[in-house]
């Protein structure tokens, strides 16, 4: 039936990834290479850690065809809780982390309960949690900033993994980063080989060898560039580890587990999902509970990086997270989208922010540009899909 043993690489799949590289290079030219510096690469990771964390959780909401507007407020509430526990009650970091996570779970379950079991539209429920969360934050913090937070807590947001520094050129080089880069490279190559082998085994069409080679080469260059820059700075940020673990876990959940695929089925056709034995209420409940947990995690990372809890924390983060998902190709109607897409989307937003700041544009201008990028990305996505059909 299918005689085509080779098909060209579907470039649409990598469109946003290429856009990410292009944007980065444009800013590299505009800022005279300022955004290429090791310190800036490090900043990119640390500044965008929480957006990536939120985008991962938000993708699940977007897959159901909805969004969660409350995440920014939950970030603030949980950050505030952590701050109060440590500063006012002088308790240790672990209590603070647990308190923040528990509050995140409770808010998530609260929203999930209304959405799943009472059938209230998610937009309304999360608009309510957004208002309530922000109000609660101002109340418990009495509109004051709480800080400074203890050193070991700040590590979560601003710390680095252990390093083995050796002198190199005009500075030092962290061998741990280099080792990690090597491991990542090997894993990338092996997984591609396994992928090809599986396709051949089931007689699926594969991509031409040269295209695969180019793809792998591009990815390896990026990996080495990235880790080399980090190695020249302070080594691997702790936030990078959190991000890598989250992205890996959630990519696995969404693509390889029954629960993950049930979210896609629900988003694609809720009635059909129901009649296929999927408890769609339960799925909704856990998707929003999960969003609460990840919001709490983002709250911890953000307050750690700032070394303080402020009532304005996380303001507008929900929009960044939602935009990341859509830029990353998730369908507004639900049922389609990937974790990697959302992460790429988050980094596009991050690189734009970072590049524009370096170039000296005000945050007001930045908002205009981000809005235009969101609109442009989704427009291109929708139009190219329509053409296909």
């Amino acid at each position: 039936m299918n005689n085509k043993k080779e098909v060209n690489l579907d470039m649409k799949q990598y469109g946003m990834f290429l856009a990410l590289i292009a944007i980065y290079l444009i800013f590299a030219i505009m800022t005279g290479g300022k955004n290429l510096s090791p310190a800036n690469i490090n900043n990119l990771i640390m500044q965008n850690g929480y957006v990536v964390i939120l985008a991962v959780g938000m993708l699940l909401c977007v897959l159901t065809g909805n969004v969660d507007l409350g995440v920014g407020s939950v970030v603030a509430v949980t950050g505030a809780a952590a701050g109060i526990v440590m500063v006012d009650y002088k308790m240790n970091m672990w209590v603070a982390i647990i308190a923040a996570l528990v509050i995140g779970v409770i808010i998530g379950m609260f929203a999930g309960f209304f959405i799943a079991y009472l059938g209230i539209p998610p937009f309304v429920v999360t608009l309510a949690t957004m208002l309530m969360g922000r109000g609660l934050t101002y109340t418990v913090l009495q509109a004051q900033t709480k800080g400074p937070l203890p050193e070991n807590f700040v590590f979560i947001g601003a710390g680095f993994l252990p390093t083995i520094k050796v002198p190199f050129g005009d500075g030092t080089l962290d061998l741990v980063s280099i080792i990690v880069a090597a491991v990542v490279s090997v894993v990338l190559i092996l997984s591609e080989m396994k992928n090809i082998a599986t396709k051949k085994k089931y007689n699926f069409a594969t991509n031409p060898m040269w295209q695969i080679a180019v793809k792998e080469a591009v990815m390896l260059v990026i990996v080495w560039f990235f880790f080399y820059k980090l190695a020249r700075y302070n080594g691997l940020p702790f936030v990078l580890l959190i991000m890598a673990l989250l992205v890996g876990t959630y990519a696995f959940i969404t693509s390889k587990t029954v629960a993950g695929r049930q979210i896609y089925a629900l988003g694609g056709n809720r009635k059909a999902a129901n009649l296929s034995g999927i408890d769609t209420k339960k799925v909704f409940f856990w998707v929003y509970t999960n969003m609460g947990i990840l919001s709490a995690l983002a709250g911890i990372v953000l307050s750690a990086r700032n070394a303080s809890s402020t009532p304005k924390a996380g303001d507008g983060f929900e929009m960044d997270a939602i935009a990341s998902c859509y830029i990353g190709g998730a369908a507004v109607a639900g049922g389609a989208g990937t974790i990697t897409g959302a992460v790429v989307g988050a980094f596009i937003m991050g690189i734009l922010n970072n590049g524009m700041s370096l170039y000296g544009w005000s945050t007001d201008i930045q908002k205009i540009v981000k809005g235009a990028v969101l609109l442009g990305a989704v427009t291109v996505d929708v139009i190219s899909k329509n053409k296909k059909g």
Binding site: M1, N2, T198, Y202, F204, K256, T257, V258, A259, R261, Y264, A265, G268, N269, K271, A272, A273, N274, L275, S276, G277, I278, D279, A331, G335, A336, G389
Partner: protein
Amino acid sequence: MSDYILEMNHITKEFSGVKALNDVNLKVKRGEIHALCGENGAGKSTLMNVLSGVYPHGTYSGDIVYKGETCNFHNLRDSEAKGIVIIHQELALSPNLSVAENVFLGNEQTSAKGIIDWTKTRKKAQEMLEKVGLEHEDVNVQVSTLGVGKQQLIEIAKAMAKKVELLILDEPTAALNDEESRKLLDIMLELKKQGVTCIIISHKLNEIEYVCDAVTVIRDGQSIETIIKGVDEFTEDRIIKGMVGRELTNRYPAREGVKLGNTIFEVSNWNVFHPDDGNRQMLKNINISVKAGEVVGLAGLMGAGRTEFAMSLFGRSYGQKISGSVKINGKEVELKTVKDAIENKLAYVSEDRKTYGLVLINDIKENMAMAARPKFFSSHGVINGNDEIVAAEEYKKKINIKANSIEQVVGSLSGGNQQKVVLAKWMLTQPDVLILDEPTRGIDVGAKYEIYCVINDLAKAGKAVIVISSEMPEIIGTCDRVYVINEGEIAGELTKEEVTQEKIMQCIMAHNRKEDGNE
């Protein structure tokens, strides 16, 4: 030739290199009802989209001569301005607006300054409704409160309001019951008297035989022949021959050598109340039983409660205050959720595959694995992708799903192939009892035959199969035994030997009389 209102000559339309229509010719006489017949994917809808300007002039070759002049339509508005109106299968009504507003949707009755004149709208809507036999309908009610049959007629009224001369109906009776269909067909005959020419696309050959003056058969994107009433032999079998290119001697494959086993499915004293109205009893004291290897039909009119019965059995997906008992393989089971039902080896293939059966944006494999995944294709919640691929490939081959690969998106498949995907999805859950609700609705003759073969295979494998169908010949052709359901009750039971269309109708009529007598 002036007596042709429409001539479509040598129409060829390509989609990225594939010819969907290849030199198609269609000639329709003024004032006749002309049917377009063909299997799904033969090109009927494409042809009508060319005619109505959905595919604008220039994207196809060939010419359209309408009322003696060559037409180059660039969009729907162009063709509507000439009096060509197409009514699609999916109705284009806005459910929350009033009947009157819908009749003039896109054609609003306004005063000079573009402000809607409500009095005029209602008055004119009333006139239009009279033309389609809905003179007793209140033009102020919301369209969503009306049944599908009436909505279909409102679509026609809407077309009448646009001064239609050539009305195109794409499967107008697909969602209607026999009575409603009959009414619609009679309205068509009435419109014919008023001088409206109709083109109808339909799979229901008995309806075509009843109402049409001529049939053009399309097969694989080519017009095969035009059969004219009164000139040629005009029977269902003759039309089928044209459609499939051979004579289909037996529309229902014989099921041989199946030994009936023990009763494996038994429902007793089943009572269900309406989901929104706890006082309204929808199903009363239903008792049925099915043996292993037996195919049992549930016959009845639309709204008799057959789908409601099936859904209420299947994890209480319909109704409230459900009572009664279900035995599967001799063991009494509680099926409180769909998951319970699947685990107890019951499967229900819904009547509406697009709404309740498939996730159209997902691929074949994903859809097939959806219901069976928790039990058969995963361990500890992690999916075993290879097993899914193997199973999907196996079923694709086994029940002959025509698709490029198991990674093709199901939304792009034809109705027949979509139905096969839904069947495979449920077969993969390895059920002992299958309820098939309208398994061949809206699919072509060839695909129907293949579905019947699947039913036979299931019976041979010792499954208990329940078929719900509004097409009586289908029930009669496929089932060993038939329960007639009427107004939520079993009105009668007929064996294969005694069942005929007349007998089924007699059961319903007798039951109706008894009901009336009781009240």
